[in-house]
């Protein structure tokens, strides 16, 4: 990489690191692994940087690389999330209610298969259109629709009692799902 491109890449890293960290965390559910995934993604991006000239191309590439990194790691069971704790004790613990809502969502996300989780996060956190999400996930718009619908359905089941039992089951079966 020549000096100008290096400066450009460094500026990109400074500007996007925290944003990518948030996205990676929603995709994988662990702060440490999110940092690792962002690091790997940025290393891949550095290699591809000279040919990533337009900003929309960069965003698409980086999102795709990050999701592939997280999903590939999950497939290899690089780590496994084990959301086995009770998720509905929030009501009896009012002062930490908001904390537990977050906890419940984290655990519910952990129960989703990787691509369903990615579809939900891309659509409702990144606010991508179905077409944009399809491009990032490398699948059809129809596929995004069904991944999102199934993901939301499952979140709905998991997020509320009596979905707790399903959450535990989901955690043991989510590794190979596409």
């Amino acid at each position: 990489m020549d000096r100008a491109l290096e400066d450009e890449f460094e500026a990109f890293v400074r500007g996007s690191y925290t944003r990518l960290l948030r996205l990676a965390y929603l995709l994988c559910g662990d702060a440490g692994h999110a940092e690792d995934a962002v690091q790997v993604t940025l290393a891949k991006t550095a290699l591809a940087w000279p040919r990533l000239t337009r900003s929309d191309g960069v965003d698409r590439y980086v999102r795709r690389a990050l999701i592939n990194t997280v999903i590939a790691k999950r497939r290899r069971r690089w780590w496994s999330e084990t959301p086995t704790h009770d998720v509905d004790h929030a009501d009896s613990w009012d002062e930490f209610g908001r904390l537990d809502e977050r906890d419940a969502l984290r655990r519910a996300l952990a129960g989703l298969p990787a691509r369903q989780r990615a579809a939900v996060v891309l659509r409702y956190y990144e606010d991508l259109s179905e077409a944009q999400a399809a491009e990032v996930l490398g699948c059809s718009v129809g596929n995004v629709k069904s991944l999102t619908a199934r993901g939301l359905q499952r979140l709905r089941e998991i997020h509320r009692p009596p979905g707790i039992r399903e959450l535990s089951n989901a955690a043991t079966t989510n590794a190979g799902e596409a």
């Binding site: 890293v13 690792d36 290899r76 780590w79």
Partner: protein, 407 residues
């Protein structure tokens, strides 16, 4: 799901995502901590998260403690008992001329040598390039000809370090160069052919260095060993592993490092002949573990109950196979030849708030900083001195200190 549900989901996802970002105060320390950030970023980021979630463990559980400033300890305890350090005041190490702020990174096993680097603001609010410092019996010198951070020092005054530039926005820098200072001269620790960047993490008394390299065709890190005076050699790793970070090398050549593999990160050691051995996770902490240091037959590090969950500092005894968890301590930064480990305790504000030692089942709290946060980095092998620094949030000034009862 209704439109309102969708809007709520968006809001909740945005709130949850913020957990990935360290608190502002903690980000300050991380940005200024050079290699410490890389060495312990996962551990400390996770412990900050644990605290933020209110599921951290306050205090030291059932472990008996020796409070800082306990004036009965010194007289009652024999020489060599680390409990004496609870009564030893922190003394400031002098700074080289013109230097205002420093972070200490390591000390040698005798405590004679301490290394750190400058952390000075520039005119625009950024940081000036770091410069390595070596103290010999408390006398500082800037290591001429080297730049960046001094990472480790041995009892012969040999120092290894690395320069990763001033881009501190990443937990692991994208490029860097490693160096070694010995016999008064600085020379490069070059990566093997095909790699462009080199980073160091450990040094033993014989001058062997461990670290990792990366390059254009290998964006992931590759573990390497520089045997004393020799070229870099890539360390063979078990199985088809995609990421290995070496953390330290003992005087007998045993290397410790963290390996990503099925079921989470695990700690491995490699003996002189390259035989790999996986260290067991402590009972109740199957969520992955990592090392930070090796000394003699001891390895220090941390383990997690689950990947996003509670975390404990851990000590492994390589001779007996014993593994001990220290709930209430997030991570050990270093361990001495007697198995006494240096701990960082993260407070509810996400900042470290006291410097502790773990000695078997006992916790020794070092006298606190008069101002700011006390950070201990290294305890010497005869338990007579601890090197570290005080860090004041806001002014962002680091002051090098040694806790010692020696004159």
């Amino acid at each position: 799901m209704t439109v309102d549900d969708m809007s709520e989901l968006r809001g909740r996802l945005a709130t949850l995502a913020e957990e990935a970002v360290p608190t502002a105060g903690y980000a300050e320390v991380r940005q200024r901590a050079g290699r410490l950030r890389r060495r312990r970023v996962a551990a400390l980021a996770s412990s900050a998260l644990v605290v933020a979630l209110g599921i951290g463990v306050a205090g030291h559980g059932a472990l008996p403690g020796l409070g800082g400033g306990n004036d009965t300890a010194l007289g009652a305890l024999p020489a060599g008992d680390p409990g004496r350090l609870a009564s030893c005041p922190a003394r400031k190490l002098p700074l080289p001329t013109g230097v205002r702020s420093v972070l200490v990174n390591a000390a040698d096993p005798t405590g004679r040598y301490v290394v750190g680097d400058t952390t000075e603001p520039d005119a625009s609010g950024g940081r000036l390039p770091a410069h390595p410092i070596l103290w010999d019996r408390g006398v500082p010198r800037l290591i001429a000809g080297a730049s960046g951070s001094a990472v480790a020092v041995n009892s012969h005054g040999v120092v290894v370090g690395e320069n990763t530039g001033t881009n501190t926005s990443l937990p692991i820098p994208l490029s860097g160069s490693a160096w070694i200072f010995q016999n008064g001269k600085v020379s490069a620790l070059a990566p093997p052919a095909g790699y462009t960047s080199a980073f160091v993490s450990g040094l033993n008394d014989g001058g062997d260095v461990v670290g990792y390299v990366s390059g254009k065709n290998s964006p992931l890190t590759v573990p390497v060993v520089w045997k004393a005076g020799g070229p870099a050699r890539v360390l063979a790793v078990p199985g088809s592993l995609d990421s290995v970070l070496l953390r330290g090398i003992a005087d007998d050549g045993t290397i410790v490092g963290d390996v990503s593999r099925v079921g989470g990160n695990v700690v491995y050691t490699w003996d002189e002949r390259g035989n790999a051995r996986m260290l067991p996770a402590p009972a109740g902490y199957p969520g992955g573990d990592a090392s930070t240091a090796i000394n003699g037959s001891w390895v220090a590090g941390y383990a997690r109950k689950e990947p996003a969950g509670d975390q404990t500092a851990v000590r492994w005894n390589l001779l007996t196979g014993a593994v001990t968890a220290y709930p209430g301590m997030a991570v050990f930064a270093q361990i001495n030849a007697k198995g006494v480990a240096v701990a960082q305790v993260v407070g509810p504000d996400g900042k470290g708030h006291e410097a502790d030692l773990a000695d078997g089942g006992r916790v020794i709290s070092l006298p606190a900083a008069t101002k700011g946060t006390a950070v201990a980095m290294s305890v010497n092998d005869d338990n007579s001195a601890v090197a570290g620094y005080f860090y004041v949030h806001g002014t962002e000034v680091g002051t090098p200190v040694v806790w010692s009862c020696r004159d």
